[in-house]
Symmetry: C2
Subunit: 246 residues, 2 copies
Amino acid sequence: MPKYKCVLAYDGTEFAGYQVQPEKRTIQSEFEAVLAQMHKGTMIKVTASGRTDSGVHAKGQVIHFDSPLTFPTENWVKAFSALLPNDIVVLKVDIVPDDFHARFHTTGKEYRYIIDRSKLRDPFKRNYAYHFPYSLDELKMKEAASHLIGTHDFTSFCSAKTEVVDKVRTIDEIDFEENGCYLVFRFVGEGFLYNMVRILVGTLLDVGSGKIDPQDIIGILNQKDRSFAGKTAPAQGLYLWKVFYK
Amino acid sequence: MPKYKCVLAYDGTEFAGYQVQPEKRTIQSEFEAVLAQMHKGTMIKVTASGRTDSGVHAKGQVIHFDSPLTFPTENWVKAFSALLPNDIVVLKVDIVPDDFHARFHTTGKEYRYIIDRSKLRDPFKRNYAYHFPYSLDELKMKEAASHLIGTHDFTSFCSAKTEVVDKVRTIDEIDFEENGCYLVFRFVGEGFLYNMVRILVGTLLDVGSGKIDPQDIIGILNQKDRSFAGKTAPAQGLYLWKVFYK
């Protein structure tokens, strides 16, 4: 039975996140409903690289599933495009080796976070960027980012609700780029904890607006306590941009 | 009592159009609710340059109202930004002469219509463009447009539901421009009938895809019958872009 890998994009606005939850509209449940439809009612389980929260978007989420169906991958793309709701799209389908696993085989992920710095909030961007019209000292933010890059215990930068025990993670890259009125943060690392990117952004914005000194980042990491870092930036600015595999 | 003119932008997705309707969320009712709040419960009537339909967006709708409040125009902008829901924003407020009228004094309007020509539909654009991945002959569309420019009876290009008797209108400009995967139609004229821009777009797309010959436009105009023109293109691609005054 072939194993399929799909790259998908979704607008997270109208979803209660990626993972199946009773009575809620989720990406996984919509996707599995379409697969069941394609397989005459047989439930096909889907495994993703990881979850995304309510309101969080994806430009390159990766999932896998096994299916007895063997039509060409371009026909899978067309079928998904026709059957999935218009806030999810499958960009690419590949046949992968039997032992491929969308979650266990990731070697890294890239997240982006979009800040809208226009003076007036933009009604067309309300679900796609975080409106933050205040001035930011980018040099200070760069310095703070340099303290976050590398391998650290990120307990201070993940939701207190996390069940994961080992909170040591490695961040390979943090950078940000101005694009018109937008400031786009890029985070690349082998893996991220629950809410980690949003707390990193919230803290970097606190540094940029002078509430936290760049040097303080070292102390915040050492505290290993969520209450020392900045606020969790809102979901609508966050995009799971790319998932890396060997 | 000063008269105020406001330029506003709104994402039409979650509105049942501009105009007040019982039990429906409309731009006018949200705006008037905020004005009532600012005026301690007194109802302030708002007059727009014209209505927009459910799902139709505005980048430059114009409204006027009279108010006894006299704070500086930049404070009006800030107050509106704070009080209006996040899918409406007031871009500009000006004090205008007593006899200004947002509807009767317009000298023209510009509408834009955005077509998304990417092969795969984009979940992030589902409410902001019309996905039309088929090939289009732009030369034929330009020829068809040339027959529509000028003063004509546009009965064939307006909703049969229109109550207006005189259906003669003047279109000054129709052009379209490629912008990445988007094709943006621009329509400028002194005034447009109900659904007119969307029917013009639907008909131009029929010309571009070879279903209607450019020359046939002349005959369609002469029929003065809605059933001869193309389909009404969907609301989500349409933007009231600018309203002109002397």
